[in-house]
């Protein structure tokens, strides 16, 4: 039995180009700020889950739609669509009234996997306003301390991993958010995103750490960190209304599950390798990324010399994430005046939407739906762990 309490509140998101954008989001406690995405909900397969929702906004009813969960109920029975007095559909499921209304959902988390939870009320508006989050269901036999049991889908499913990350995509049209803030109408058919987000943040903020004081409403970083050879489980979730082709540099990934469904027919493996994964709106997709490298070290050098530093462009944007060396764990020289964010000679591989207009902040590169996969020579075990 797991009880989760969520509060719906508002706040302002911060974008790297200096914009502040009004949003609605879920908060983990009455005193906590609303956040995008909502708190990661991590439960165990077979567990009975109760989610209590308190709607503290004054504007609209709010509900939660648990994608991929069966038999969701409220105190009144199975969830069902809600209509207004004129018979117009308001919510896909029972909702909490504005101004402090509450609703309680319960379900049994039957299947392991990665799922979205999101508003089922005026979803064309409320999900885009930030009312979404990710539910992770651990398999029955999950045990993070036993290598063969640290899996996404259970022992023997071929989904063993060493580190895991959640990456949720989203889009923001600031005109929609401003209309919601002012209580003005907005036509969703005119939706024109200017920002694309990973874990509620636009690049380069995606590459910052978790829970930063200057990003109170965007607590989740989107930097993927691992050591060579490690199996990195990347749980993708498409929370916006658009599809995104996501391209991790560095290597292909193995797509092991879609929508919480393991790609396997009986004993037949149906997983596959991709270097670009098209993530559909509302879809989740679990990847296992593994980078082993090509064996280059100072003792086994790259076969062509690098040009003199004066003959290469480093830090064209004023910063670099490069170490200055071709070798992992080695720091080389970078030009004077370039800020380096490279810590210990780690390798950075971009992970981004390949519809490249989406890696801008309102048209300016770099930004948007982009982060890095950083391969470190050594990394503490707690990096890439989901509580």
């Amino acid at each position: 039995m797991r009880t989760i309490n969520l509060w719906v509140k508002d706040g302002y998101l911060s974008t790297p180009d200096g914009n502040s954008i009004y949003f609605w989001g879920f908060a983990a406690s009455p005193d906590a700020p609303a956040q995008v995405p909502g708190p990661h909900l991590v439960v165990n397969q077979g567990e009975d889950v109760t989610v209590n929702l308190v709607n503290q906004t004054g504007a609209e009813p709010v509900s939660i739609f648990f994608n991929g969960q069966r038999g969701v109920r409220t105190e009144a029975g199975p969830v069902r669509p809600q209509y207004d007095a004129q018979g117009r559909l308001v919510s896909f499921v029972d909702h909490a009234e504005p101004g402090g209304g509450t609703i309680s959902y319960s379900f049994r988390a039957e299947r392991p996997g990665t799922y979205l939870y999101e508003s089922g009320t005026n979803p064309h508006k409320q999900i885009l306003m930030g009312l979404y989050g990710v539910l992770v269901v651990r398999p029955l036999d999950f045990d993070r301390s036993v290598p063969g049991l640290k899996t996404a889908y259970g022992a023997g499913s071929g989904t063993e991993f060493d580190r895991e990350y959640v990456l949720v995509t989203g889009e923001i049209d600031p005109v929609l958010n401003a209309a919601a803030e002012r209580g003005q109408p907005y036509r969703i058919s005119k939706f024109r995103p200017r920002y694309w987000t990973l874990n509620g943040r636009c690049a380069p903020d995606t590459m910052l750490g978790d829970s930063l004081p200057h990003l109170p409403h965007q607590p989740y970083g989107a930097m993927v960190m691992a050591q060579p050879g490690e199996r990195v489980l990347i749980r993708l979730a498409g929370a916006g209304i658009d599809n995104h082709p996501l391209h991790p540099h560095g290597n292909y990934s193995r797509v092991v599950a879609i929508d919480g469904s393991l790609l396997r027919n009986g004993v037949g493996d149906r997983s596959y390798h991709k270097f670009t994964v098209l993530l559909g709106a509302g879809q989740t997709c679990d990847l296992i990324f593994r980078w082993t490298g090509l064996g280059y070290t100072p003792a086994n050098p790259v076969p062509v010399p690098l040009p003199n530093r004066r003959n290469m462009g480093v830090g064209d944007l004023g910063f670099t994430m490069w170490s200055g060396s071709p070798y992992l764990g080695v720091k080389g020289d970078i030009p004077v005046g370039v800020v380096s964010f490279n810590e210990m000679g780690e390798y950075n591989f971009m992970l981004h939407a390949h519809e490249e207009q989406k890696i801008t902040n309102w048209g300016e590169f770099p930004g948007g739906l982009m982060t890095m996969i950083a391969i470190y020579p050594s990394l503490p075990p707690e990096a890439g762990s989901l509580s």
Binding site: D269, N311, W322, P326
Partner: protein, 347 residues
């Protein structure tokens, strides 16, 4: 193990659309073997698509990028890079992401080194300010041929991957991009462009819009769009289509009358971890930016089969039908006296 040495110049240029309009582009041009004192003759001569790069699995590829500058934009001192899209286990210095390694400034060189181990259909592009440089045309195809073809028992036969069932007689590229003429004009005129306003009005296969797609390669009227998109085969031949999408939109491509067997996606044969057969049939190929897909078909009854983008607003040139992403598969009867395509085959 052979060595492939190639040198690409990065520069700008102009391309032509069937409606007579001209568009400013960035791109690459092949300057392999050109003496150093002649390379600047290639300034302003970028081509779309950029030159095809081919290698065998296991080859050593030395790819030198020379930044020739932009005669059409002398104010612009952008760097350039080459990103081999999809190269497994890459290291940052050869990955071409300037934020994570380095770029090539104007009048400088960088030699990228690759030893591809996985055959298949890839793409390359510049990753410097990629939203601008990709849209402006710095995109090209990349093919890695399987080691299987070098085995004596398979001499003079052609394969897409290291499986005998990936054999083909002819191969064609279907390389999809879009062109937003407003963006190209703003870049040419050194004006800012809000990329969130991206609205392409030309839709290209192999760098051309229909009807130029069905014209021959190296047409004198299309000096900087050398690649034809017409697909020719004799009846009964196995034809490999190498689909690449390096635009910014998802495309649904159809060839009515021809069923496509999808054998690989993203340069990975459709085989499960224990060899499970994951290949599938499609009449429509849905492909997103940054994806590649290999499909085989057997050339059917002779005739002309249109291949086009089923997102039908994209079979236009600046809004005018018929244009854009259309080409033709032309199947002819096998010439008299020609032996069967392969032994045991019955027509």
């Amino acid at each position: 193990m052979a060595q492939v040495r190639k040198r690409l110049g990065a520069t700008d240029g102009k391309i032509r659309m069937p409606d007579g309009s001209e568009h400013y582009i960035f791109g690459f041009v092949d300057i392999t073997g050109v003496p150093d004192d002649r390379i600047f003759d290639f300034r302003g001569k970028a081509q779309l698509l950029s030159p095809l790069i081919e290698a065998y699995q296991g080859d050593e590829v030395f790819l030198t990028l020379t930044n020739l500058g932009m005669p059409g934009r002398p104010d612009l001192d952008d760097g350039h890079t080459i990103h081999w899209h999809g190269f497994p286990n890459q290291i940052p210095v050869w990955d071409g992401v300037p934020e994570a390694s380095m770029s090539v400034p104007v009048a400088r060189d960088l030699t990228y080194y690759y030893r591809p181990l996985d055959p298949g259909t890839y793409m390359y592009h510049c990753h410097f300010e990629p939203v601008e440089h990709i849209q402006m045309g710095m995109v090209g195809p990349l093919i890695v041929r399987p080691e299987l073809e070098k085995r004596p028992q398979y001499a003079r036969r052609r394969f897409a991957y290291n499986y005998a069932w990936t054999e083909f007689d002819r191969e064609f590229l279907v390389f999809l991009t879009e062109l937003d003429s407003t963006a190209h004009r703003m870049v040419e005129e050194a004006q800012p462009y809000d990329w969130t306003e991206y609205r392409p009005d030309y839709f290209l296969i192999n760098g051309r819009a229909y009807p130029d797609t069905v014209r021959r390669e190296h047409e004198s009227e299309l000096p900087f769009q050398p690649y034809s998109a017409r697909i020719n085969a004799y009846r009964g031949e196995r034809v490999l289509l190498r689909f690449v999408n390096l635009g910014f939109q998802q495309h649904s491509v159809q060839v009515p009358g021809i069923s496509l067997t999808v054998i690989a996606r993203d340069a990975q044969v459709l085989r499960g971890t224990a060899g499970e057969d994951l290949i599938f049939e499609r009449d429509t190929v849905y492909i997103a930016p940054g994806e590649t897909l290999d499909a085989l078909f057997t050339a059917p009854v002779p005739g002309t089969y249109p291949l086009y983008c089923r997102n039908l607003h994209r079979i236009t040139n600046a809004g005018a039908p018929m244009g854009g992403m259309i080409t033709e598969v032309v199947v002819r009867p096998r010439p008299l006296g020609c032996p069967p395509v392969r032994e045991g085959e019955n027509e």
